[in-house]
């Protein structure tokens, strides 16, 4: 077998290394650039009813026109545990975990929204 002359790094190796570096950079951007949700805001009839830390573990009763809406907060997430509204959309939304997620209970006029450390990308949300 003749001794083939070759360099330590072949042209394709540079390509593989560049792809690998891109993957790492992309992964770092994806993993570290997210704004983790820290607080939950509870609105009643369009007014801020309460703002709570998501790390707290508690259940809160929010009185509305139809009755009490139960908001549950546990381990960095929040949900509407119970609501008197007929269609139960906000209860079916389940646990909210990401910044910006909302659950709206109508017609009980109650909603929750998760917020992070950064300012919102929009000024207000009306419904």
């Amino acid at each position: 077998m003749s001794k083939t002359e070759w360099r330590l790094l072949q042209p394709g190796d540079w390509l593989t290394a560049a792809l690998g570096a891109t993957l790492v950079a992309l992964l770092a951007w994806l993993a570290w650039n997210t704004d983790a949700a820290t607080h939950v805001r509870i609105y009643q009839s369009g007014k801020l009813f309460a703002e709570l830390d998501l790390m707290a573990h508690r259940t809160m009763q929010v009185p509305g026109p139809l009755g009490d809406t139960t908001v549950e907060i546990a381990q960095g997430r929040a949900r509407i545990a119970a609501d008197p509204s007929p269609r139960q959309y906000c209860v079916k939304a389940g646990w909210l975990t990401e910044t910006g997620q909302t659950a709206i209970c109508l017609p009980n006029r109650t909603s929750i929204e998760l917020t992070g450390s950064r300012a919102r990308a929009y000024d207000s949300l009306s419904y």
Partner: protein, 175 residues
């Protein structure tokens, strides 16, 4: 004469001896590496993988798979981690890595050297380990925040191991 059912003779062929020699070398490198302190649990250079790459380059994927798996089992027995979570992570990483190498071995050697194989193996290894860790040991999505660190280490060490392997192969193209 009929062969006795109880008196069986197993002779090691040339292939067996060669695989055993490489596996012993890989286990030794694994033991040496275990003596080095690691800055972060789970971040290791994986110098034993240089042997796997060397075998893959010289003797093909089948031999490389034997050496890699023997190294994982043998290393665990020598270091005392057999069937521990760390062993499971190592085995899962090794299997995923071998699967990736099974595909990567067909890359044109004119263009892709051992460095490419090393990088692919290192990335697959860490992907396998993180996958198992997420499914079994730490079932939490927060694990993704550590992923860039591990993949960054795979890039650096994959490159270093690949260069060492390329250098060895350049000086000794045939065993």
């Amino acid at each position: 004469m009929t062969a006795s059912a109880t008196d069986r003779v197993v002779t090691a062929g040339v292939d067996d001896l060669r695989i055993a020699r490489y596996a012993a070398l890989a286990i030794m490198l694994g033991v040496v590496e275990a003596g080095f302190p690691s800055p972060l649990p789970g971040v290791k250079p994986g110098i034993a993988n240089i042997v796997t790459l060397l075998v893959l380059w010289r003797h093909g994927w089948r031999d490389a798979a034997w050496v890699s798996l023997l190294r994982i089992f043998g290393g665990a027995l020598v270091l005392g981690g057999f069937l521990s979570p760390g062993f499971a992570l190592s085995l899962c990483g090794g299997i995923v890595s071998l699967a990736a190498l099974a595909a990567a071995q067909y890359l044109q050697r004119r263009w892709f050297g051992p460095v490419s194989l090393s990088l692919i193996a290192a990335f697959a290894h860490i992907a396998g380990q993180l996958g198992l860790a997420r499914l079994w040991l730490i079932p939490d999505n927060g694990l993704i925040r550590l992923a860039p660190v591990f993949f960054g280490a795979a890039l650096v060490f994959g490159l270093a191991n690949g260069l060492i392997c390329a250098r060895l192969l350049k000086e000794h193209p045939t065993p």
